[in-house]
């Protein structure tokens, strides 16, 4: 049988000598086959002579490669290959392989008539006659440029992700792909890691515990696995990873591998650990503080019970001695007993004020909207009736302040009481209480025209037990203003004083408006 010869008679080469083909027995069937090939536009299907010259051409070939039948028939098929493939002798190699094993499949760049490239899927089949003599080759070429680009884009996408290690494993856990993120995070290059088992990313401890196998098993069963844990880089350093593992299955549902996405969240982990640690410390401190508060509470309870009991006895028996035997005692003895009574009175005041001061530091103070006018009235109600008439109040009844009303009332009482107290003995005291809004703040002022405070003492007066005068001239415990300062601070406000000796004093309380 003569080998296949190129003919120029039609678009389809005459398949002389290809009687071995099942369709070849009947001319009618051969015609149907010819028409079939001629109708295919998605595949270039053509024949080559044993030497590689084009022997036939179909419309698909014309569409894909742009040559018309008469232009290309008789030409060597190497015309379709790019120069580097030609230099490598690829066309002839492909024919040789096809002749030897019957078939050759390849993907690669091919050149159109206009010089443009397309990515081709090529199958070359050897065609032999009944005697087994090679009479030519059948060639089927597909333009899969679009598919290749899609795959390429996808691969670039995966590879472009540097913040995530994205890689795949086969069903046994050996690494089959590796992106740049994986290289960046874990330190291994593509070449180093492909084919290795993924358990090398785990700590020895986790590996010994069988964690890698469990992760794959869990992913395979549940269809998904998410976890966090310490992993090991190539250089041996550890990082805290957040991992998602998804099983990959073929159309039949058979497990073919896994995809793994790993993120290095060490920074977040360390931050969370720090936050957690701080939270625990805070809780501990709150607990300690609560305990301290409870101890203080118990302490002050004990003080009010036990410290006062002997005072009651001293006061009580002194009083009885004075009442029952005063007439029989010499005058100085009566005088001394009166001193004892006064001292117990002062001691009682001190205990009372200290308890009040400690309560002010300790008690839970919940601020809420409070009418300023009402709190001032509450404070004034605590004054002796004779003193109440000496207080002039001017406050807009609509003014509301954010405060704890009992605390604020006590603060105001202390300030008003002080204002009325610190007057020269021969003057009639009076105090003005005023409230006004200044933006988001309510300022309550308590003004007197009494003896005033020298500038150098204006800080000191807010400290516990600080007194500027003897208890004889101006009685008091020296705790009142300390209570004011502590209380106003507990409510998120401030207190300040404007004063000059002989000109009186004005205390200003600032609190957030409600």
């Amino acid at each position: 049988m003569p080998p296949l010869e190129p003919t120029c008679k039609s678009g389809i080469g005459t398949l002389q000598g290809m009687r071995a083909h099942p369709f070849g027995h009947q001319p009618q069937t051969e015609d149907v086959f010819r028409r079939l090939v001629e109708s295919i536009r998605d595949y270039a299907i053509f024949l080559l002579t044993p030497e590689g010259n084009v022997a036939s051409w179909n419309p698909g070939a014309e569409r894909i490669k742009q040559y018309q039948a008469h232009e290309i028939i008789g030409k060597h098929f190497s015309i379709f290959y790019p120069p580097q493939d030609l230099a490598a002798g690829k066309p002839n190699m492909e024919l040789r392989v096809a002749a030897e094993v019957g078939r050759f499949e390849d993907e690669g760049w091919r050149i159109r008539k206009d010089g443009s490239r397309f990515w081709a899927n090529v199958i070359i089949s050897a065609v032999r006659d009944d005697d087994g003599t090679l009479i030519g080759f059948g060639k089927i070429t597909r333009d899969i440029t679009d598919r290749r680009e899609a795959e390429l884009r996808y691969r670039l996408l995966i590879d472009g992700v540097t913040d995530y290690a994205i890689y795949s494993l086969d069903a046994n856990g050996n690494i089959t792909s590796w992106n740049s993120g994986a290289q960046r995070i874990k330190g291994y290059t593509n070449e180093e890691i492909i084919g290795q088992h993924f358990s090398r990313f785990y700590t020895q401890q986790d590996t010994d515990a069988g964690l890698p196998a469990r992760v794959l098993e869990a992913a395979a069963i549940a269809g998904h696995y998410e976890g966090e844990g310490w992993r090991v880089r190539k250089d041996g350093t550890k990082f805290w990873s957040s991992v998602v593992v998804t099983p990959l299955r073929d159309e039949a549902g058979e497990l073919v591998g896994f995809s793994k996405i790993t993120r290095d969240v060490t920074d977040r982990k360390l931050l969370l650990d720090t936050v957690q640690q701080h939270a625990e410390e805070l809780e501990l401190r709150i607990a300690e503080r609560e305990q301290t508060n409870a101890e203080l509470e118990a302490f002050s309870y004990s003080v009010s019970h036990d410290l006062r009991a002997p005072l009651r006895a001293i006061e009580g028996f002194t009083d009885i001695v004075l009442t029952d035997f005063g007439a029989q005692l010499p005058t100085p003895a009566v005088e001394y007993l009166r001193h004892i009574l006064q001292a117990t009175g002062r001691m009682n005041s001190l205990v009372r004020d200290l308890l009040s001061y400690s309560r002010m530091s300790r008690l839970e103070i919940n601020s809420e909207p409070v009418q300023v006018g009402k709190v001032i009235r509450d404070a004034c109600a605590e004054l002796d009736e004779a003193m109440r008439s000496k207080v002039a109040v001017s406050a807009d009844p609509s003014l509301c302040v954010c405060a704890h009303s009992v605390t604020l009332a006590q603060i105001l009482f202390n300030l008003i009481n002080n204002g009325l107290k610190f007057y020269p003995p021969d003057e009639s005291p009076h105090v003005d209480v005023n409230a006004r809004r200044e933006g988001g703040t309510i300022v309550i002022s308590v003004r007197d025209e009494g003896i005033g405070i020298a500038p150098q003492h204006q800080e000191r007066i807010f400290q516990v037990f600080e007194r500027l005068h003897t208890a004889d001239s101006y009685p008091g415990t020296g705790i009142g203003l300390a209570i004011v300062k502590r209380g106003i601070a507990r409510m998120g406000g401030t207190v300040r004083v404007e004063s000059a000796p002989g000109k009186g004093s004005t205390f200003y309380l600032s609190l957030p408006a409600a």
Partner: protein, 164 residues
């Protein structure tokens, strides 16, 4: 039916107080105010319960008569005032009706509220001065002991009606 003539003569006040100075001052304050009362004193909560139940040596009601009312401190050795109150109000007999006035050094809201929750009928804070103590106990005698109606505390024994 018997009428307790002892009670008719003078009310019996059971003072539960551990501080002997306070006891003395209370006795003196009571003595300086009009009205005759019998003051009996025990020094802790357990003794208060024993007194009220008539446990020996308190079974002798001639010597330890059942009180008309009880003055009860809170902070006490052994059983506290609150525990005595709870015990008292949980009794099944008429003794649970015993009027109780707290007399304590605490002005804590927790104590005041807790006392009334446990069934106290009145609450006085011990004052700082003897003069105030005399006033308070004078008021106690003139109002509490002389104006109020008292419940019956012994089955079958009824108090005579208060003379008008």
């Amino acid at each position: 039916m018997t009428v307790d003539h002892n009670l008719k003569r003078r009310p019996v006040v059971l003072l539960v107080e551990d501080n002997s100075s306070d006891v003395q001052l209370i006795e003196i304050a009571l003595s300086r105010t009009p009205g005759d009362i019998a003051l009996v004193r025990v020094e802790d909560g357990d003794k208060a319960v024993e007194y009220l139940t008539g446990t020996a040596p308190f079974h002798d009601r001639e010597k330890y008569p059942l009180p008309t009312t009880m003055l009860l401190d809170i902070k006490l050795p052994k059983r506290s005032g609150f525990e005595v109150l709870q015990w008292l109000r949980s009794q099944s007999g008429p003794i649970r009706r015993l009027p109780v006035m707290m007399l304590t050094s605490s002005k804590h809201r927790v104590d005041v509220n807790g006392a009334f929750e446990r069934g106290a009928n009145a609450y006085f804070a011990k004052p700082e001065s003897m003069k105030e103590l005399i006033t308070i106990l004078g008021d106690f005698k003139s109002f509490w002991l002389q104006r109020l109606e008292f419940p019956d505390l012994v089955p079958g024994v009824f108090l005579p009606p208060r003379p008008r």
